[in-house]
């Protein structure tokens, strides 16, 4: 299944947050959300990617957007990753059932990890824009997010 397309409603899903509560489709309602799907905590390109997006957080907030990192890692690994990078971007875990949310968004790699992909949802929980990197090693520039937010 290809990545979810602009205009489609976000699927029902449930991700785990660090504070224990679930993060579901209902959490998308009423605001703009940027979901950053990344393959693995602590893998080199992910470091650069989240660090870059972290650097432009004030600009994202100015655009009214909230950004989250999503991977199939356990929430504890994600949190250690977040602390180790020193980024503020909240993490969401697709650990159990593993990859179910990634599959629902069409970004589950056949080998069981999240593709490197970006999905922006509007306040109506409808997908405004989606992007999948040509390969998991490609790093999407932050400008792509701002183009989508500004369109």
């Amino acid at each position: 299944m290809p990545i979810i397309a602009a205009g489609e409603p976000a699927p029902e899903f449930s991700l785990e947050t660090y504070d224990g509560g679930p993060f579901t489709r209902a959490n998308l309602l009423g605001r703009t959300t940027v979901l950053v799907f990344y393959p693995f905590a602590f893998s080199p390109v992910c470091n650069d990617q989240l660090s870059l997006y972290n650097e432009v957080l004030p600009d994202l907030h100015e655009q009214g957007a909230t950004i989250y990192g999503v991977s199939c890692d356990a929430i504890w690994s994600q949190q250690a990753f977040k602390d180790s990078l020193g980024v503020e971007i909240e993490q969401l875990s697709d650990f159990e059932p593993k990859g179910a949310t990634c599959r629902a968004f069409g970004v589950l790699h056949p080998r069981g990890y999240a593709q490197r992909a970006l999905v922006i949802c509007g306040a109506d929980a409808r997908v405004r824009w989606s992007y999948q990197a040509a390969s998991p090693g490609d790093l999407p520039g932050a400008n792509l997010i701002f183009d989508a937010l500004g369109s």
Binding site: D48, L52, N54, L85, N143, F146, L149, G150, S151
Partner: protein, 174 residues
């Protein structure tokens, strides 16, 4: 709509008088986006010295990965205000393990700069704006990481591979 927000896509800012450029006058120009705490940038810097190209260096400090990258970039720009950008640039890349404030002052002193003026400039809004302009221009042009090279208008993110080194050597006629 392109440019719908402050960091939406925009063409790479052309190299102008505000840029830091060195190398043979008639050599092809390559733009490098880097930061002083990035080990791959330091390695790139050393290897680029073997290729006779003209290099424009632009700041791309990302604080989460490299917490001292921003103060180091500010130090280079403060040195630039005493005509010592490249000496400071080289001194920063030469010893990435020492980028704390006292190490920056020691470099300024060793380079014969007015240290009080260096310190005031380093913390000035003008210097911060200069570094931020490099970073934001890079983001808008799609620079995603350090080092990123712009070769003949094409963006190459990350460490140059063998093919890119071959192209750089060919470009330099080396």
């Amino acid at each position: 709509m392109i440019g719908g927000s402050g960091l939406g896509s925009a063409p790479l800012p052309p190299v102008g008088p505000g840029d830091h450029v060195r190398g043979p006058e008639d050599a092809p120009l390559v733009i490098v986006y880097g930061d002083y705490e990035c080990p791959f940038c330091a390695a790139l810097e050393l290897r680029l010295r073997e290729v006779p190209l003209r290099i424009a260096f632009r700041h791309f400090p990302v604080r989460a990965s490299h917490p001292r990258a921003l103060p180091a970039a500010h130090a280079a720009e403060a040195a630039a205000r005493q005509d010592a950008f490249w000496p400071m640039h080289d001194a920063l890349f030469a010893d990435q393990a020492h980028l704390e404030d006292p190490h920056l002052w020691a470099r300024a002193e060793a380079l014969g700069l007015d240290v009080a003026r260096f310190e005031a400039d380093r913390r000035s809004e003008a210097v911060a704006a200069r570094v931020s302009a490099d970073f934001r221009g890079g983001v808008r042009a799609g620079v995603p990481t350090t080092p990123t090279l712009i070769v003949e208008g094409e963006l190459h993110a990350g460490r140059p591979d063998a093919a890119l080194w071959g192209r750089l050597s060919a470009l330099a006629g080396a």
